[in-house]
Symmetry: C2
Subunit: 163 residues, 2 copies
C-alpha cells in the first residue's frame, strides 16, 4: 500500500458554540482497520491511553446497546472507565464514556472514519459534554498526552500488520 | 399520604447556552415510585407516550450499561426507539435515546428525582443533543403533547396504587 504524507499529530479542538471536543487524526490505515482497532477488545487494549499504562478489558460487547468497561493501571494505581456502545456500524461508532472517578460525568462520543484515498483514513472523534465547564476540565487535564501516545501505538499496531 | 398543590403541567425549556431540553414536572409520588416508573418495563409501557399509543417493550436491561428498545404503535404505524442505560441509581438515570427513524440522532438523557416534601417529587429530565438545530427540531415536533399525555397517565398509574 502506498501512503501519502499525512498528519500524525492529533488536532484537538474546542467547539466555540457547543460543549464538544473534536479530535482529528490521520492514519495510514483503512476505515475497516480503524473500526476494528476501536471495536476488537484485544486490539483496543493494545493501543489506548498513554505510554506505560496497561489496559485490562473487563466487559466488552461491541454491538448496538452493548456495554464496555476497562481498567487502566500504572505504578500501582488503577482507573476504571465504562460506558455503552449506542451505535456500532462500520462508518460510525457512538458510545457513552465515564471515568469512574467522576461517576456523574458522562460524555457522548461519536467516531467516524473518513477515507482520504492513498491509504489514509482520517479519524473524527467527537466528545459531547453536558456543560462547557466539564468540557474545559477535560481539555485542561493533559488529555493530549494520552491521545497522542495512544494513537502513536495504534500507528505501530497497524504497521505491524496485526489490525 | 397528604399532598400539597403542585404543578401538573410539564415545563419544557430550551437552554440558551447549550443544546439541552429541560423538562420539569411534579408528581404526587415518592422518588422511589418515579424511579420504578422509569425502570420497570411493565410500568413504563403503561404510561410513556401520547394517548392512544401502544408501547411494546422489545429489550430492557435497566442496569448500568444495559440496553433498551421499545416499539410504539398507533393506527397501523409503528415507531422504534432504542438506547442504553448508562447509569441506573435510585437518584439518577442516564440513558441514550434514538428514534430509529433518525438513526444518527442520539440524545443523552439525565433524569433526577427531587423530593419536595409533602408527598411531592419533582422530576428533572434533561436531553442533551449534539447541535442546537437537532435540539430545536425536537422542540418543534410537537413533543409536548406526548410528554404531557404520558405524564398524565403516570399520575393515574401512581394514583391507582400500581407503582
Amino acid at each position: 500500500m502506498t501512503t501519502q504524507a499525512h498528519r500524525t499529530e492529533a488536532t484537538i479542538e474546542a467547539d466555540p458554540t457547543v460543549p464538544i471536543i473534536r479530535i482529528t487524526r490521520d492514519f495510514a490505515a483503512t476505515p475497516e482497520q480503524l473500526f476494528r482497532a476501536h471495536t476488537d477488545p484485544e486490539l483496543f487494549a493494545r493501543w489506548v491511553g498513554p505510554d506505560g499504562m496497561e489496559t485490562t478489558i473487563d466487559q466488552w460487547d461491541a454491538t448496538d446497546g452493548g456495554r464496555w468497561r476497562y481498567v487502566a493501571g500504572r505504578d500501582g494505581e488503577s482507573y476504571g472507565f465504562r460506558g455503552c456502545f449506542h451505535t456500532v456500524r462500520p462508518d460510525r461508532l457512538v458510545q457513552t464514556f465515564t471515568f469512574e472517578g467522576m461517576p456523574d460525568d458522562v460524555a457522548l462520543e461519536t467516531l467516524t472514519f473518513e477515507d482520504l484515498g492513498g491509504g489514509i483514513t482520517r479519524l473524527h472523534a467527537q466528545s459531547l459534554c453536558e456543560s462547557f465547564e466539564g468540557r474545559d476540565q477535560w481539555l485542561a487535564s493533559g488529555m493530549e498526552t494520552g491521545v497522542n501516545e495512544g494513537y502513536a501505538k495504534l500507528d505501530a499496531l497497524v504497521a505491524s500488520g496485526r489490525v
